[in-house]
């Protein structure tokens, strides 16, 4: 088709003007809904840890939830901008949190290798990564209306957000407080979710 004809045809279409449609609310809804579903899935399937009420009364017990939620919130806040061409997503907060988490993981291996390997790390990583598929799909669905000009970065951030949401949900059942083991395996699982998000980003977010 001739380009001039295409322009004319699109202009005819464009008469029905499209107002600006930011993805902020969609992302927030997707995150909140998928967090609810993840929790609703964890409670009956994996079971809530018996001493949850006592645990969240201690700083170490509540810290893993706060950190997981903080990462999810920081990542979700950055996402709407990432899908508006010409705007740069602010990733400082996400970067700092992920960096801190990875440093904490490395330190816990060095400082207390035995404690870091305690518990059932494989179940932890598999559960968090598996649970993250749900929020990831919801977030991608919310983001597809936008136009990410850096799909890899956007996919990675969406993956990290999903990892944070999944880690929060899994944390309800995991009997460990924030310590060497949690500091190693939670960040590992969350960054795996981020890497998977980046891996599928071209396919999931390309336009």
């Amino acid at each position: 088709m001739n380009t001039d004809d295409l322009i004319r045809a699109l202009a005819m279409e464009g008469e029905v003007s499209k107002a600006h449609r930011p993805t902020g609310w969609r992302v927030a809804t997707a995150a909140a809904l998928s967090l609810t579903v993840v929790i609703a899935l964890v409670v009956p399937v994996l079971g809530v840890r018996a001493d949850l009420a006592d645990a969240v009364a201690t700083p170490a017990g509540v810290a893993k939830f706060v950190l997981a939620l903080a990462l999810a919130a920081a990542a979700c806040t950055a996402l709407p901008r990432a899908v508006e061409p010409g705007r740069r997503a602010r990733l400082d907060a996400v970067g700092i949190l992920v960096g801190l988490a990875l440093v904490a993981g490395a330190l816990s291996v060095i400082a207390a290798p035995e404690a870091a390997l305690a518990g059932s790390p494989i179940a932890c990583v598999v559960s968090i990564v598996g649970l993250s598929i749900l929020p990831f799909s919801a977030l991608i669905a919310a983001l597809r209306d936008g136009a990410p000009t850096r799909p890899e970065a956007t996919g990675a951030v969406a993956g990290l957000a999903s990892g944070g949401i999944a880690a929060f949900g899994f944390g309800l059942s995991c009997p460990m407080d924030l310590g060497p083991s949690v500091a190693l395996w939670y960040p590992l699982a969350i960054t795996t979710a981020g890497a998977l998000g980046m891996l599928v980003s071209r396919r999931a977010l390309g336009w």
């Binding site: 380009t3 322009i7 279409e13 003007s17 508006e84 061409p85 390309g206």
Partner: protein
């Protein structure tokens, strides 16, 4: 500016905006494609892809912000994407020995890949339901009833969407409206 006027329903302003974008994008596309050994006709395809992307994603521009960075980012993304894809396709073509595809040539009167690409590109201007119905009925040959069941809408809605979609595509392609009868099975 023009985009703002277009949001108010001014088609002429929107047309002028798209024409201005073409003036800027065309030389960029030609330069980028000549670097990988492709000509003006491929460049024009890329220009059209950019226009369709601008059109399809125009709701991502915020009136409160300057439009040039928005246009620039969409153009960059689309051009880089197209150049990467075309370079890959080209490499594949060059890697194939002549004998391998020489005997394929007689069948290539209408390149099926190309037709599919054109059809998909044309469908991009239709709304979600219309595009889905046209794809199901006109391209994949489903009956209206099958398409209705699969898309979860009534058969009447399928017919209406198909009719609207085809009429719009026909208008786009500059074909007289009656020609759509041929497409309908």
């Amino acid at each position: 500016m023009w985009m703002r006027a277009a949001r108010g329903g001014d088609a002429l302003a929107y047309e002028r905006l798209l024409a201005a974008i073409v003036v800027v994008v065309r030389p960029i596309a030609r330069r980028r494609l000549s670097r990988i050994g492709l000509g003006a006709s491929e460049a024009e395809d890329v220009v059209q892809e950019v226009l369709l992307a601008i059109h399809a994603k125009r709701h991502t521009w915020d009136e409160g912000r300057p439009i040039l960075p928005w246009v620039g980012a969409v153009v960059r993304y689309k051009v880089v994407d197209a150049v990467r894809r075309l370079a890959r396709e080209r490499r594949r073509h060059v890697d194939t020995p002549v004998e391998d595809w020489a005997n394929l040539l007689p069948e290539c009167g209408t390149d099926p890949d190309r037709a599919a690409v054109d059809a998909e590109r044309a469908l991009a201007v239709l709304s979600g339901r219309e595009a889905g119905v046209v794809r199901a009925v006109a391209l994949e040959g489903e009956s209206a009833g099958e398409a209705a069941r699969r898309l979860g809408i009534s058969e009447g809605a399928v017919r209406v969407a198909l009719h609207r979609g085809l009429r719009r595509l026909a208008a786009l392609a500059g074909v007289p409206v009656d020609a759509r009868q041929e497409v309908r099975r």
